[in-house]
């Protein structure tokens, strides 16, 4: 294959990775930014979203698009509910203590993963894409659905940004993030904000998973890679910074796509990890992060 089309394919693949990564990492970043909780179970919410998408789409007969749209609505809501319960039962009881919540979310990771293995099983199961249009380029074919994932993700990111910057809910969230004590003093129900943010963070991961599941199947171990990549993205972009998360996701996704296509996927992972190390050494707060007060 010639260089031009090769690069195009690499960029397309990279964009799809970026799109999903941006949504997942945004959830992680939001939870950390507002609650100061490092959610190690974030990847499992992603997995849960995919598994539930499979369950919903197989339960609904008819055109695959109906099942998919239903999954896109129902799966994130259910995952949000699970996150809400986890927040109530675990995180709140630990008073959002940073060290305590890390250990607790590791526990949640295992519980969710093993429950999925028990009730869903070890198989990788496919979800039918809502449409299967194959874009025929002169050099190779490309899945039209993959491109629609990029578009959907971009729209969701814009919506999240609008909510955070233009609405009262966003204002409350930002206030809580900026200074919890002052926010509480001004009558903001901090605990409810925390519960909401934790649920929304998990839902973002679940939405990303529903979008990706027609491309790569639902499997109980699928949460590991997104978790690792999300941490990489969040560290590079700056913990708690929306803009940083998106920029870092595009950066990591594209470099992953291009490096792994022209060299090797292992090299892409090495580079991503190296970038994390460099960022930690030279700009510990991340590209767009602010230094902790």
């Amino acid at each position: 294959m010639h260089f031009g089309p090769h690069l195009l394919l690499a960029a397309l693949e990279g964009l799809v990775t970026s799109a999903v990564l941006a949504l997942t990492a945004l959830g992680l970043s939001l939870v950390f930014g507002v609650m100061r909780v490092v959610n190690v179970a974030h990847g499992e919410f992603f997995m849960l979203g995919a598994v539930l998408a499979w369950a919903v789409s197989t339960a609904i007969s008819g055109h695959p698009a109906i099942g998919f749209v239903a999954a896109l609505v129902i799966a994130p809501l259910l995952v949000g509910l699970v996150a809400l319960i986890a927040e109530r039962l675990v995180l709140r009881r630990l008073h959002y203590n940073p060290e305590g919540t890390i250990v607790a979310t590791i526990g949640m990771l295992y519980i969710i993963q093993q429950l999925a293995l028990t009730f869903y099983g070890p198989e990788a199961r496919p979800v039918e894409p809502p449409f299967s249009y194959r874009i025929l380029l002169p050099w190779f074919g490309y899945s039209g659905y993959k491109l629609s994932v990029v578009a959907a993700s971009a729209i969701l990111l814009v919506i999240t940004w609008l909510v955070l910057t233009r609405t009262k809910i966003g204002l409350i969230m930002r206030a809580t993030q900026y200074d919890r004590e002052t926010a509480q003093a001004f009558g903001i129900p901090v605990e409810r904000v925390y519960a909401g943010v934790f649920a929304v963070g998990a839902m973002l991961a679940a939405i990303a998973a529903v979008l990706i599941v027609p491309i790569s199947q639902a499997h109980y171990l699928m949460g590991q890679d997104p978790l690792l990549l999300s941490f990489i993205v969040v560290i590079i972009g700056g913990l708690g910074s929306l803009r940083g998360t998106v920029v870092a996701a595009v950066l990591i996704g594209l470099s992953d796509g291009i490096v792994s296509m022209f060299f090797s996927p292992t090299l892409a992972k090495i580079i991503a990890t190296l970038v994390v190390a460099m960022v930690l050494v030279f700009r510990p707060q991340g590209l767009f992060g602010t230094t902790p007060r």
Binding site: M1, H6, L9, A10, E13, F32, R36, V37, V38, V40, P64, H95, N97, P98, E99, I102, V103, I106, L109, Y110, L117, G121, P122, E123, A124, P126, E128, P129, S132, R134, L136, F140, G141, Y142, S143, R180, E181, Q184, I215, S216, Q217, H219, L221, M222, Q224, D225, L227, F231, I235, L239, G257, S260, M261, P265, T266, L280, P284, Q285, P292, R293
Partner: protein, 434 residues
């Protein structure tokens, strides 16, 4: 009011990046730690205890589930017919997480704690290679159903056997003439980047060369990879045949993305069914596979010329004519491999009875009795077909099936002969001390 919850303690409210990293490191460490293991003690010395090293979790879990079903069905059939030497057989299951380090732990546990008579059932080659030394140290016979060439290479040890499934080197050698004659002469290989894949990488080129065909590119893909399009530009344009063998949970994605990439303008495809084991061949996005060919150890779909033994075996394991679980057409089996569990257990029965096996003190006798076996006739105990066994390299050799995807089913179009897959032994386990 005391600030019991630490709400107003500013020192607690900020989480440093160092703490965050600590958490990530702790998470990664935990993910690597061996899982919680169950401990149970022998209740009675009466039954023969077979330690079943099972891929219940990890990337081999889909295979593991069917290995468990098949083995349970075989043990039931053996027990219903009077057991081994009049003693009942009992499977003691331990999950190895499809992980080599944990595999070795499991073997140690079978030998030292459960005190099983033998260890049995491992599929993934890296787990076999990781566990074999533990079997040798404990001097416990280790019967694997792995397909890899590692047993026959005589690089493991005298306690490791593979009497129920042909190894990859033999499979490739017996099928290469068909590939070169029917599919094409310029072959690009796609294989998983670990031991099992390396068998394909190392043995296909010479086997094809002998038939006047060439491997023009070799593409190794990590077994945990989840997206594959990025590898496809490495396939040279002049490729006539793509020879693919993938394992792990993302196999369906692999085949689907191959379809998106090529559409109908694809080169010939020859795959090991491993690329689609436990996956419905009629899954959306797989239409382009129509007309392509697969290796199958044992056919997934019932064939018109199935023997009575094959039919009885399928009924006992509980798979329907489409190779899916009876009553759940979506639950597709790993038919091309799992027959090996059934057959291996019958080999164990034969060898134990030949050796007059009484208990762990007779393990050396069991090894020698297994090595003395020469042939397994086709029948209820060996439903996949007849096999020969080479006691020097602890490996059996059987027939292979090449199946064509036709109308959403796999139809056997060629069966190899046992002689096609025989090769010069690379060593001799029987010279090793017991």
């Amino acid at each position: 009011m005391a600030d019991k919850n630490g709400f107003f303690d500013l020192s607690k409210t900020t989480l440093s990046r160092r703490t965050a990293l600590k958490g990530i490191a702790a998470g990664a460490g935990l993910a690597l730690a061996p899982g919680f293991v169950r401990y149970s003690q022998a209740q009675s010395s009466a039954p023969i205890k077979i330690g079943f090293q099972l891929h219940r979790t990890g990337i081999g879990a889909a295979y593991g589930r069917w290995y468990e079903k098949t083995s349970a069905a075989a043990v039931k059939a053996i027990n219903d017919a009077g057991g081994i030497g009049g003693r009942k057989v009992e499977l003691v299951i331990e999950d190895d997480g499809t992980d080599p380090a944990r595999g070795a732990e499991v073997v140690n546990k079978f030998a030292k704690q459960h005190k099983t008579d033998i260890v049995f059932g491992t599929l993934f080659s890296h787990v076999v290679i990781g566990s074999a030394p533990a079997a040798g140290e404990n001097k416990i016979p280790y019967f694997v159903v792995s397909e890899g060439h590692h047993v026959a290479s005589t690089k493991l040890n005298r306690y490791v056997f593979q009497p129920g499934i042909t190894d990859v080197k033999s499979q490739i050698q017996s099928m290469a003439p068909w590939i070169a004659a029917n599919a094409g002469k310029k072959v690009t290989q796609i294989f998983p980047d670990f031991a099992f894949g390396y068998d394909h990488r190392d043995y296909l080129p010479p086997a094809l060369k002998a038939q006047g065909a060439d491997v023009i590119a070799q593409i190794a893909i990590p077994p945990t990879e989840s997206s594959f399009t990025k590898y496809f530009p490495q396939i040279p344009a002049e490729t006539e045949v793509i020879y693919h063998v993938m394992v792990g949970p993302a196999v369906l994605t692999f085949v689907k993305e191959l379809g998106e990439f090529y559409g109908s303008q694809r080169p010939q495809l020859f795959g090991f069914i491993d690329s689609l084991e436990a996956v419905d061949i009629n899954s959306p996005g797989l239409e382009f596979l129509d007309g392509s060919h697969f290796w199958e150890g044992s056919p997934r779909y019932a064939q018109p010329d199935d023997s009575a033994a094959q039919k009885a075996y399928r009924a006992a394991v509980g798979i329907d004519d489409n190779g899916a679980a009876v009553g759940d057409p979506k639950d597709v089996s790993t038919a091309a491999h799992m027959f090996g569990c059934w057959e291996t257990l019958y080999v164990v029965k034969k060898a134990m009875e030949d050796a007059g096996y009484k208990g762990p003190e007779d393990r050396a006798k069991l090894v020698e009795a297994t090595e003395a076996l020469k042939e397994f006739a086709e029948g209820p105990e060996h439903p996949q077909g007849p096999k020969t066994f080479n006691g020097k390299i602890h490996q059996c050799f059987g027939v292979q099936n090449i199946s064509k995807v036709e109308g959403g089913k796999l139809k056997v179009v060629h069966k190899t002969k046992i002689e096609d897959g025989l090769y010069e032994p690379e060593g001799d386990y029987t010279t090793q001390a017991l």
